[in-house]
């Protein structure tokens, strides 16, 4: 066995080349348990064909699907103290950071990029949930500060895409102060008269939802995304009641008037382009990019463009 795995298999892999042998060709949908072929899944923007479950995706996948032709420039993140508290629980924080870096293939839980959407300059701050649950410590906070400054410098719209459990405990109060810091960041964008749009993805909770992530000019959520402040279990323990299944889900947030729209992943790019254009290109003479000309590379299972407007419209509260 060991001879086979240690000697023969590497030899074969070296001969064949590793790139053609993805580790896992099939993914199980976490919602409906159906097996999905990896290529079909990525073609469908990691949305389940069967139940439309919007799976968690990496920050880079987000950037690829949103920018014009998938082209963008990543911003370099400034250095921050890696382990300011010398924090250790059952494991050292520095070890957790190293593991996270390997798992997420990113140096931190946020990626900042600038490029164009529909020909309009845009800066995106996208979270990577696979990096320590997208938790916000100094590096992530600094990332948002950098993103806001970049947006202001470039006269670009800022789009924040949180996917985060909240503040990063291992950085103690230095993570909590990222709440005011990120609020200042997005306030600067607002003061510069530039649009600030938030796409709430699964999950957005805690110190992230209670800071920059709730302050967008326009608040968009992906279907089924869990959005809230306190965690479900904490709430159930407090009120000693079982919560409904759709509690803290994007659709319910929409009904409660807390967000503007729930937009399927395949329609996000077109929606963003339309909204940014409406906010920025205000006169008939200005060049308005046509939504129909974009998005074709993305839309797999997306309704035709002329069917779009109704989908995203705010819905009046029913209770």
């Amino acid at each position: 066995m060991s001879w086979l795995t240690n000697f023969v298999r590497p030899k074969i892999q070296a001969l064949v080349g590793k790139k053609d042998v993805p580790e896992n060709l099939w993914h199980r949908c976490p919602a409906c348990d159906q097996m999905l072929f990896h290529r079909e899944l990525s073609d469908n923007l990691h949305v389940c064909h069967h139940c439309s479950c919007h799976m968690r995706i990496s920050a880079v996948t987000r950037l690829d699907m949103l920018f014009d032709d998938g082209k963008y420039e990543r911003a370099k993140l400034p250095a921050v103290a890696a382990d300011p508290l010398k924090f250790r629980d059952t494991k050292r924080y520095t070890e957790r950071l190293r593991d996270a870096e390997t798992r997420a293939s990113e140096p931190e839980a946020i990626v900042i990029a600038s490029g164009e959407m529909g020909g309009v300059p845009t800066v995106v701050a996208a979270f990577d949930f696979s990096f320590m649950g997208g938790s916000m410590g100094q590096a992530v906070g600094e990332g948002l500060v950098v993103a806001a400054r970049l947006a202001c410098d470039q006269g670009a719209a800022l789009i924040a895409i949180p996917a985060s459990g909240g503040a990063r405990m291992q950085e103690g109060m230095l993570s909590l102060i990222q709440m005011p810091r990120t609020v200042i960041a997005v306030e600067q964008v607002r003061e510069a008269g530039l649009p600030y749009i938030v796409i709430l993805t699964d999950p957005t909770t805690g110190g992230v939802s209670a800071s920059f992530a709730m302050l967008g000019d326009i608040q968009i959520a992906e279907p089924g995304a869990m959005i809230g402040f306190a965690g479900r279990r904490v709430i159930e323990d407090t009120i000693r009641e079982e919560l409904p299944d759709d509690f803290q889900q994007a659709e319910r947030m929409l009904d409660h008037g807390l967000i503007d729209m729930v937009v399927p992943r395949g329609e996000l790019r077109d929606t963003l382009i339309r909204v940014i254009s409406l906010l920025r290109q205000k006169t008939p003479g200005e060049l308005v990019p046509k939504i129909a000309e974009t998005g074709t590379t993305l839309a797999i299972e997306v309704p035709p463009v002329d069917a779009l407007p109704g989908d995203g419209a705010p819905v009046a509260s029913s209770d």
Binding site: L85, M169, G172, V183, E187, G207, A210, A213
Partner: protein
């Protein structure tokens, strides 16, 4: 009723003895005064020894001490003509956050604070200092009014955290906290915050994005409660003691990290042993902070507050 913490037990016993002796001395001519004096010195020494080396977890106990003065005690002691104001004008009056107008050492101010209550009824009435969105929206409303009238704002922070309830979530707890932070940061008047007990996470910082953030010596300020942290990271709620150490939540730690601007000393044995003296120290510290801010114009106040937060955590970096 006086309440003693576990690590105060020996002091409590000694003080019990002193009380007893005092009662005895009423009837007898014996020279008990000497004895009482000796015991008192001993009790004081013991108290000093204990409080000089409080562990972070012990500080959490002190910060949550049921006899520790709360926001309303400081308002009673420091604010004249206090006029409480109520409601968020949209849904409810949340008594977990109290606030209003009043005079602080002659100056008209707005005061906002988390209130925990001091007996069972008032604790329930104030929801143990755990605010719902309405509380934060009331705070925003008061801050906006203070801004309009050019009144400095004083906030007193003392909360286990924002209330984790179903209704609170569905009325936008996250948004209410976010907007409250924005309100703090947008003020063109001086904003001074004092963490008087428990600075519990987002629910605390919602009122504390201030020009000057002070902490009472034995108060704590943390991203998550030690219990919460222990149950998530150690998967064992019993490890709260370890979490309290690791999280660096004491006033001295946070001054070192420059997350706060100053520490207000407490009387020997903690604020709960002498509310009056504590209130005076808090009053003096707030007055000093306000004196330093009063001459600045609105834009400067706001810009400096922002710059202070933007600079935080950048120290010592290449």
């Amino acid at each position: 009723m006086r309440h003693f913490l576990d690590f105060e037990k020996s002091v409590a016993e000694l003080e019990g003895k002193i009380e007893e002796l005092r009662h005895l001395s009423d009837g007898e001519e014996l020279n008990i005064a000497d004895e009482v004096g000796k015991l008192q010195t001993q009790a004081e020494k013991m108290l000093r020894q204990t409080y000089d080396k409080l562990t972070p977890w012990q500080r959490v106990q002190v910060a949550r001490h049921p006899n520790r003065p709360h926001a309303s005690d400081y308002i009673d002691a420091l604010i004249t003509d206090f006029t409480p104001l109520a409601g968020d004008r949209a849904y409810a009056e949340d008594r977990a956050i109290i606030g209003g107008l009043g005079r602080f050492r002659g100056w008209s101010v707005a005061v906002i604070g988390h209130e925990k209550g001091n007996d069972t009824d008032s604790r329930i009435d104030h929801n143990f200092g755990m605010a719902r969105p309405e509380g934060y929206r009331k705070a925003q409303r008061l801050m906006a009014m203070a801004d309009r009238f050019g009144l400095p704002v004083i906030t007193l922070v003392d909360t286990p955290g924002a209330y984790p309830g179903a209704g609170a979530e569905e009325r936008g707890q996250a948004e209410a906290i976010a907007e409250s932070i924005r309100s703090c940061l947008g003020l063109r008047v001086p904003l001074v915050s004092v963490v008087i007990g428990e600075g519990g996470s987002g629910g605390a910082i919602a009122l504390a994005a201030a020009n000057t953030v002070l902490m009472l010596e034995h108060s704590v300020y943390s991203v998550i409660s030690p219990e919460g942290c222990a149950s998530i990271l150690w998967r064992d709620g019993e490890k709260a003691r370890d979490a309290a150490e690791a999280l660096r939540i004491t006033s001295h730690d946070l001054l070192e990290f420059a997350v706060i601007d100053g520490i207000i000393d407490e009387p020997l044995g903690g604020a709960h042993r002498d509310s009056e003296a504590t209130a005076k120290s808090v009053g003096d510290a707030v007055a000093t902070a306000l004196d330093g801010l009063r001459g600045l114009d609105g834009d400067t106040l706001r810009t400096r507050r922002r710059e202070k937060f933007l600079e935080m955590g950048r120290n010592g970096l290449a």
